[in-house]
Symmetry: C2
Subunit: 154 residues, 2 copies
Amino acid sequence: MQTITATDVYAEDLTPGLVLELGSHTMTEAEIVDFASQWDPQFFHTDPERAACEGQLGGLIASGLHTLSVYQRLSILARTEFWHVIGGAGLRDVRFRRAVRPGDVLTGRSVVEELTLEPERQRGLAAFAGELTNQHGKPVLQLVMSAYLVSRPA
Amino acid sequence: MQTITATDVYAEDLTPGLVLELGSHTMTEAEIVDFASQWDPQFFHTDPERAACEGQLGGLIASGLHTLSVYQRLSILARTEFWHVIGGAGLRDVRFRRAVRPGDVLTGRSVVEELTLEPERQRGLAAFAGELTNQHGKPVLQLVMSAYLVSRPA
């Protein structure tokens, strides 16, 4: 397995195949309700009682955006190096594979899928294939996230 | 232009071509910093002073996940009908087209792109092509979001 050995991470350090273990996050009912109350106010994300009675998936489930945000939080907190990020470029193939419920423990993993250097702009675009799995080892989220990083100075 | 006339929205009501105007949201520095501090803690999203000096994009910018969450919030709040949603399925082709900064006013629009009915499961999968534009009429976010809805009862 490849690991990062640099203390400053530039685009060139993100070689395809590099695996990043992102650690875990426990989903609480309070956090699920909080997130969704602000950003995705649908009753099956915000009202545990009504979700239990009327929800099509049997009880409160986390917003997909919340799950996606957990993935991003883990990605950033897992960095022990300083990453010279310019900004995010986009997301593709985001799949909410299973319902995420209070008490679920989500564990993240990311693999560098592709690196496209743009030497004339002193930057590179890295694509990461990411996944969150629950405490049963089942995937709940899969995605590809792309971000621009600064190129290593000559 | 097609509009929704039902008070209860089932999968069958989301015919391709249907346009949904989602209203607007003003981005504040406080909200940008708050969101990113929890979900995307990178200095160019959380630290205005450092972002101004060291940020590659010249000052504080919103997390892409924050912009995406604004889109979802507007989508839900724009509904005057009761939508029989089962849950989100995924996102594709999410593009962060331009930096979003404090003071930007984002306006949303969504068009039903595709509807795939699954009669044997009494549901349908609707895909929405969504966009947020800023106060200069320039796109900042483009995406396709898919969600399952209950089929209209016979």
